[in-house]
């Protein structure tokens, strides 16, 4: 039952066996969330620090809720990246916090690798809540859990990830997790949103949304960051919507339903239309609920074994 991993830094090197354990455990915690009293004493006496060096409402609330549902004690530290003055050592900041003896640290940081750096400096379980453009493993796990819940099995599933792949930690973690679980992954978006030689990750690429929709059992639609527009990676949000927006019109061309996912927050009317995001085939709200369950599962499996 013990996971092979000691920290959750990313899904790149997490085995199928570990992912299955995390998902199975998550489904058992998911049941707790349906009870009148949605709380179990499992992590009583465990202290969890939530270190958020970047704004995040959804992920932070989901983690906090998961911790509280497990009866862990929580402390929160939030600082935007800019308030960490240049030259100030991340290590110092963290070691100060750690003089206070935390068992678990959940960390969000704008720079790839910062969470791994943290795991080298502290004697605690470290969970990556998103580090820059690197990984966001709990998001991918909740995505995979939601696909499994809806469609039964991941093996052989055709999943299309649509949007800004290059700047997306959600995409990278999903690719790693889905490949490990045996899914076929197709990426779709403009070439300026594709990282160098992305096929080397074992995925296929198309620049044509209709082709991606024709392929997919599930589409995971990524949020388009408005700042990308200014950098010239896409000429305009309007054009993006016309070429890559998931609309009723696009989906109605297909003869079969596709499961629709989105990691949120949604730019309604840009990457996806409101009626599609709210349709019967959308599992976006399940993703949110499963997010709490998956995070409870990770916390139990990593902190419980300490």
């Amino acid at each position: 039952m013990n996971l092979r991993i000691k920290h959750l830094l990313g899904l790149e090197n997490v085995s199928r066996e570990d992912i299955n354990t995390i998902l199975d455990t998550a489904f058992s915690f998911r049941e707790v969330l349906d009870r009148p009293i949605k709380k179990v004493p499992t992590l009583k006496g465990v202290t969890v620090a939530n270190l958020f060096f970047e704004n995040s409402t959804r992920t932070r609330i989901s983690f906090e809720l998961a911790e509280k549902r497990l009866s862990a004690d929580t402390v929160n530290f939030s600082a935007s990246g800019s308030s960490l003055a240049k030259g100030e050592s991340l290590r110092d900041t963290i070691q100060n916090l750690f003089a206070m003896k935390m068992d678990v640290v959940v960390m969000r940081h704008p720079t790839p690798g910062s969470v791994k750096l943290l795991s080298r400096f502290v004697d605690a379980v470290v969970i990556n809540a998103g580090d820059g453009t690197h990984e966001h493993p709990t998001q991918a796990l909740l995505d995979i859990m939601s696909m499994k819940e809806k469609l039964g099995s991941i093996e052989g599933l055709n999943v299309a990830i649509i949007g800004d792949i290059r700047h997306s930690r959600v995409a990278l973690s999903n690719i790693y997790g889905l490949k490990t679980m045996g899914a076929n992954v197709l990426l779709c978006g403009p070439p300026t949103f594709m990282p160098y030689d992305v096929e080397s990750l074992g995925v296929k690429v198309t620049y044509d949304l209709d082709e991606a929709l024709a392929f997919a059992d599930v589409i995971n639609v990524l949020r388009i960051q408005r700042e990308r527009q200014g950098k010239g990676l896409i000429p305009s949000m309007r054009e993006y919507r016309n070429v890559y927006g998931v609309t009723q019109q696009r989906l109605s061309k297909l003869k079969r339903p596709i499961t629709i996912m989105h990691p949120g927050p949604i730019n309604r009317g840009v990457e996806i239309d409101t009626d599609m995001a709210d349709s019967e085939h959308s599992i976006i709200l399940h993703q949110v609920l499963n997010g709490v369950a998956v995070r409870m599962s990770i916390l139990y499996l990593l902190a419980g074994g300490r």
Partner: protein
């Protein structure tokens, strides 16, 4: 860990008879089965609960609600173990308020599982009473907990274990007293 069998506590027939008796005792003590539900504690308590419920249905002519409870999330001792126990899904598909809940487990030993189970049940609502049925009471209680329905009381040593085998899980019905040898 290795085990050496000391004695057979029950064979298939004895187990069947014990389950029949426990079912009758529950009906008798609760004066019928209105507002009574059975909750099995995973793993083998689940199968035991289902067998008792079936027997009760045979006798009373109507079904009795059965739930399954996983106590891992409520345990206070899982962190002392080398292997982290797997959590399983708890299924209590009925309202527990104002019901007599009969908890069912295979063996009662320290009482800690039952303590965890009672804590869990309280989070589902406010039962009018919780009772406890076990197949084997092997003594050595660490908490003030006592079973209401007992299949068999067996004095044991600390280095012994009661091994319950049930068809649904182990492929056969048999209860053994074994000695743990390193």
């Amino acid at each position: 860990m290795n085990f050496k069998t000391r004695s057979q506590l029950m064979d298939e027939t004895a187990l069947r008879r014990t389950i029949t008796r426990l079912a009758h005792e529950i009906i008798e003590r609760c004066k019928g089965i209105d507002d009574v539900a059975i909750i099995g504690i995973r793993t083998r308590g689940e199968f035991l609960a289902k067998r008792i419920a079936k027997k009760i249905e045979e006798v009373e002519g109507k079904p009795i609600p059965v739930g399954v409870l996983d106590t891992v999330m409520y345990r206070d001792d899982y962190r002392m173990k080398k292997q982290l126990p797997a959590t399983e899904i708890t299924e209590i598909p009925f309202d527990v308020d104002d019901k007599i809940l009969v908890l069912v487990d295979d063996v009662i030993y320290t009482g800690r599982t039952i303590r965890a189970a009672m804590d869990a049940l309280m989070d589902f609502g406010r039962p009018s009473a919780i009772q406890l049925a076990v197949l084997i009471d092997r003594g050595h209680r660490e908490l003030p907990i006592k079973a209401d329905y007992i299949g068999k009381s067996v004095p044991t040593a600390r280095n012994e274990e009661v091994k319950v085998h049930m068809k649904e899980f182990d492929g056969r019905d048999e209860i053994l007293l074994v000695e743990v040898t390193e």
